[in-house]
């Protein structure tokens, strides 16, 4: 039994995205959730399933704050930045099983104002291996752990930093068109090249932001979705994929392939469409290189051809594949990809601030931890 069109995105919500706040992550998560529920035309107590992002509010918080009388399902999908999109698959499964009618996916964080990625990371189960064997050597942060993937791609395929800069520049331009983006001043390739090196080959402008705020979506059963406040956005295909050597990039046979490469054929197969049917793509962008690598792993181009694929503004609103039309994690806000699902929904509804004309089918990805991946393909319902 396929999950094809087993549910629809019926509501999306965000808070104002900030770099600086004295609010709690919980209050952002609940505010974004209320906005998504309102957007769907539901009452908070209508929610009967919860898949919150892993490090934040728990089911008890929602039951208590929303007065939910009969919560039927709660889970998390612990895949770091791939969690939000992976939780779409989870939501479809519990809706198709008849357990839930309206599942809320939500995230709130104080990534800028609260503790940055602290040393507690060394103790988190999924990082236990690198906590023991790599962090003591000085390989601590994602930028350092991912940089060897980018360097390997450059050495094998001739990919350049200027090509990665195209992603930063295009994404910033898209952010400049948004009212709710934290970095809105356009940049050039030269600005990118002049930005300081963080962990070679990744420069400051290859890296995503630290942000405060929240984002949420509501996924509803098809029989409910057809009569709700907004046009439903049907989930045509969805899958998650876990890379080889998921705990340590160092030991991965092919450093240039992510878990997404396993998920993509499943999602496209379920959706029954091809790459040329995709009008807009929201691609998880913790780092510019990760965007390019995912475009390859999704099959938009061959492995090694990502650099030339993204050149000459190819990812712009009028390019061959408009990508991260909201400004992404690089320039809108780091909401762990929940904001990518929000944006894809708005694009397919036709209500985005940087609207791709006639966008009817689109794709959203998540990427997390040491290479976990997830992808969902959606269409205007």
């Amino acid at each position: 039994m396929s999950l094809r069109e087993a549910a629809a995105v019926t509501g999306v919500g965000e808070t104002k995205y900030l770099r600086g706040t004295d609010r709690t992550a919980l209050s952002f998560q609940l505010e974004a959730s209320l906005n998504a529920i309102r957007d769907a035309g539901l009452q908070p107590s209508d929610i009967d399933g919860l898949i919150p992002y892993g490090h934040g509010a728990v089911a008890e918080d929602f039951i208590t704050n929303f007065g939910i009388k009969d919560l039927r399902f709660s889970a998390t999908t612990p895949m770091g930045g791939a969690s939000a999109v992976a939780s779409i698959q989870c939501a479809l499964a519990v809706i198709q099983a008849g357990i839930c009618k309206h599942v809320l996916l939500s995230l709130g964080r104080t990534g800028y104002s609260g503790g940055r990625i602290g040393m507690r990371v060394q103790q988190m189960p999924q990082f236990r291996t690198i906590g023991e064997f790599e962090m003591p050597l000085g390989a601590i942060a994602p930028a350092q752990l991912y940089a060897p993937m980018a360097r390997r791609h450059m050495e094998l395929y001739g990919t350049t930093s200027r090509q990665l800069a195209e992603i930063a520049v295009t994404t910033r331009y898209h952010a400049s068109l948004q009212t709710n983006a934290t970095m809105r001043s356009p940049i050039t390739i030269e600005d990118h090249q002049a930005s300081r090196m963080i962990s070679d080959p990744l420069r400051l402008l290859d890296c995503s932001l630290e942000s405060d705020g929240g984002a949420a979506i509501v996924i509803s059963a098809p029989d409910r979705a057809k009569d709700m406040a907004k046009r439903p956005i049907m989930v045509m295909g969805v899958a998650e994929g876990h890379p080889d050597s998921p705990s340590a990039i160092t030991q991965r046979p092919d450093l240039t392939t992510l878990g997404l490469a396993k998920a993509a054929p499943k999602a496209f197969g379920m959706a029954g469409i091809t790459h040329s049917d995709i009008h807009v793509a929201e691609i998880y962008d913790c780092f510019t290189y990760i965007v390019m690598c995912q475009l390859e792993d999704l099959g938009f181009c061959k492995k090694g051809e990502g650099g030339s694929f993204i050149e000459n503004g190819a990812l712009g609103l009028n390019g061959r594949l408009p990508v991260n039309t909201h400004g992404g994690l690089l320039s809108q806000a780091h909401m762990a990809g929940m904001n990518h699902i929000v944006e894809l929904t708005r694009q397919l509804r036709g209500e985005a601030q940087a609207q791709v004309p006639n966008a009817e089918i689109g794709l959203v990805t998540g990427y997390g931890d040491m290479g976990d991946g997830a992808v969902a393909i959606m269409r205007r319902g």
Binding site: M119, Q122, T129, G131, E132, F133, E134, M135, P136, L137, G138, A139, I140, A141, A143, Q144, A147, P148, M149, R151, R152, E155, L156, R196, M197, I198, S199, D200, P201, L202, S247, A248, T250, Q251, L255
Partner: protein, 135 residues
């Protein structure tokens, strides 16, 4: 009393022989006691035959550079004094990879396939870390 202020490993019974080996200037890698497959990082089960019988072998310490990064920003205050530092990912002759900082290797030397050998850096009384040197 040590003023070492970097992150330190917390070895487990599954991983302790690796760290003890480094203290003795030996590179010990874990291998399956049944099918012989060498694995790194150390763990309880062989992913080839699912045996839980493990042994430790003395590895050659030799390998070739697979990739690298040069870090210019201290993500932990303990590494501030090391900046910039080179971390190499190395294909070891035994078929596994290792990650470590370098000694006596500069940015201009770096290329895929550069032959290297493991060295031993005693950073405090009870901790020796691997480093890579030109082979």
């Amino acid at each position: 009393m040590s003023d070492y202020d970097k992150l330190v490993p917390s070895p487990t019974p599954d991983t302790q022989p690796y760290w003890t080996g480094l203290q003795e200037h030996r590179l010990c890698l874990q291998a399956c006691a049944d099918c012989g497959r060498v694995r790194h990082y150390p763990r309880p089960v062989c992913d080839s035959c699912w045996s839980m019988n493990a042994k430790w072998i003395d590895a050659s310490g030799r390998g070739k550079v697979h990739s690298w990064t040069i870090t210019h920003y201290a993500f932990h205050p303990g590494f501030k004094g090391d900046l910039p530092y080179i971390l190499v990912t190395v294909d070891m002759d035994e078929g596994v990879r290792m990650n470590a900082q370098v000694r006596g290797i500069v940015e201009a030397d770096l290329r895929v396939g550069l032959p290297v050998k493991v060295g031993y850096d005693k950073v405090k009384d009870d901790l020796t870390l691997p480093v890579f040197e030109k082979a």
